[in-house]
Symmetry: C2
């Protein structure tokens, strides 16, 4: 059976699996902690671990797909920079190819996740699919006619860095009003912090509407958010959990994210007219608490001459998404390549 | 020689030409004024004129491409609505096909213009091209891998209706903060009117910057704009002409358009990573007065792991763009269709 190796390099762990052309994992997913060394030793420690994993695999392997968080130079197979890994201007594709003696395809993890959802996940069988991964930042992937779309030089799909609020604050990317500033885990934390500090959300549309609706906020409105803040435990994850428990203030913060996510969805719908938009990343665990109001905003803003508009759904794949997607990218690229094995 | 008929239906005139597969017009471009009748008689008057034009053509014609301003239901070959023509929910494709006894492809005029620029205009030979047409509104077209991209149900490319300023005013489309509200001929007029009324631009980023830079505005700063307004002659075209003549206030209004156009360009660059973005429509006559500052904004906002960013250039095709583009769309769709002639 023909197998591709899928490698998913994350901030805390690295996962490796053998994956068939139809996206099925063969055997176990092997994991090891991401090297905790400094930048100099990181790559060597990573390669050492990968060599060790490779030595335990007896199957013939056609090639390797690697998914990695960060900005990837697709044609050079380089990591340009990564928010959570000490990789800067690192020719990681070449390094892994040498270490494993296999052809390697390196892509960013939003692209690999998108392909995985299209082939074996929430968007299975669909042709035109956009994915937004809502984590600390906002990543994006574009599948058109069933294939990953990469653009002229490989950097297409930076959907988090599209301007949705051009009058507002600078984004950490140095840009102004990026979607990432309004519809990410970091944004959820920021909105919650604003509620803690000011007793309400006051800066943005969704927030104002929510605030107006809740003009009679109870005394203890921001109590639990304030407790989290006092314990230095206020972050996107904890705010999301509070919202799922029903906390009104946390839900207002989520509603603000939902408004901006809806604006982003409307843009994707009007630009791409896709079959489906898949929402992944940590915030997708909020499910319809986030997606339902976001859909409403999208539907109010979407142009649809024939009455249809994109489905919006949470990502379906769990832990295996990273390795499966990485391998599927390799299958997509390497399927017509003959290599000595 | 195989010929396709290209028909360009505009608010003031209709143009018809015979076009070869490589985009060359054969013979003359035939024109007649758009019917000035009410909605009921409009289509019949149009068809009558088209039949008359057809009767003067002796060549064999393979089929017809029709470009029309407005929202088009691509699969149903219908005009859903049009801002400048009395066409609402009109099965125009079928009607023209019956009248001319030829297979017809109906598309919106931003798509046809984009394909024309890619095949024979500013973006000739390029694979991934985005076009923004800046007129009263903002239209868009997407060419990927050399072909028009239409999405799942044919409505892709509504690039004017992407939210770039989600905190701001409602767009005439009922949406909030659309690019069309900030980077169109109507926007240029609005900015100029704001200068006339308030002596300066005060609401938006580009405007504030421009206003700060020009803190010492001369007494007669808005004089000529005010004269235009008094004569009821203030519009996108007249403001643009003043700006080209060097009028400082008109240039500030253009700078505001340029800022938002730059935001739109950055979004297109980060989403599509195209080879080129072509700017068409009436505002493109401003040339580098508009495009140079817009490029600067785009470059400040564009993510480019490999150092490259899309070229931005004015559309190259003049009067013939409409008929050529319409015919090229028909060539793209009908090239594998055999029809009795």
């Amino acid at each position: 059976m023909a197998l591709m190796l899928g490698i998913d390099i994350g901030g805390t762990k690295v996962a490796v699996a053998r994956v068939t052309e139809d996206g099925t994992v063969q055997g176990e997913v092997m994991e090891f902690p991401s090297p905790s060394t400094g930048p100099e030793e990181f790559v060597e420690a990573l390669l050492e671990q990968l060599r060790e994993v490779r030595s335990r695999i007896e199957d013939d392997i056609l090639g390797v797909g690697v998914g990695c968080a960060g900005t990837i130079d697709w044609h050079e197979s380089k990591v340009v920079e990564s928010p959570n890994l000490p990789l800067e201007d690192e020719p990681l594709g070449e390094q892994i190819a040498k270490a494993l003696r296999l052809p390697v395809v390196l892509d960013n993890d939003a692209n690999t996740a998108t392909l995985a959802e299209v082939r074996v996940g929430a968007a299975k069988g669909m042709s035109h699919v956009i994915m937004l991964t809502l984590g600390t930042g906002v990543g994006g992937g574009i599948v058109l006619d069933g294939k990953l779309y990469r653009g002229a030089t490989g950097s297409a799909g930076e959907l988090g860095h599209t301007i949705v609020n051009g009058n507002d604050d600078l984004c950490r990317c140095g840009r102004r009003g990026c979607l990432e500033q309004y519809a990410s885990g970091s944004a959820l934390e920021r909105y919650a912090r604003r509620i803690v500090d000011h007793g309400r959300l006051a800066s943005a549309v969704g927030g104002d509407d929510a605030a107006d609706a809740a003009a009679e906020r109870p005394e203890d409105y921001a109590k639990r958010l304030s407790e989290l803040a006092a314990a230095d435990d206020l972050n996107g994850k904890s705010v999301g959990e509070l919202a799922l428990e029903g906390d009104a203030a946390a839900r207002d913060a989520v509603a603000e994210v939902a408004y901006w996510l809806g604006a982003g969805l409307a843009n994707m719908a009007n630009i791409f007219n896709p079959d489906m938009i898949v929402i992944g990343g940590g915030l997708s665990s909020l499910g319809d608490l986030l997606l339902e109001p976001a859909r409403k905003v999208m539907e109010a803003h979407a142009i649809r001459p024939n009455g249809t508009v994109a489905q919006v759904t949470a990502a379906q794949l769990g832990n295996e998404a990273g390795v499966v997607g990485a391998a599927l990218v390799a299958w997509e690229v390497l399927e017509n390549v003959t290599v000595p094995v």
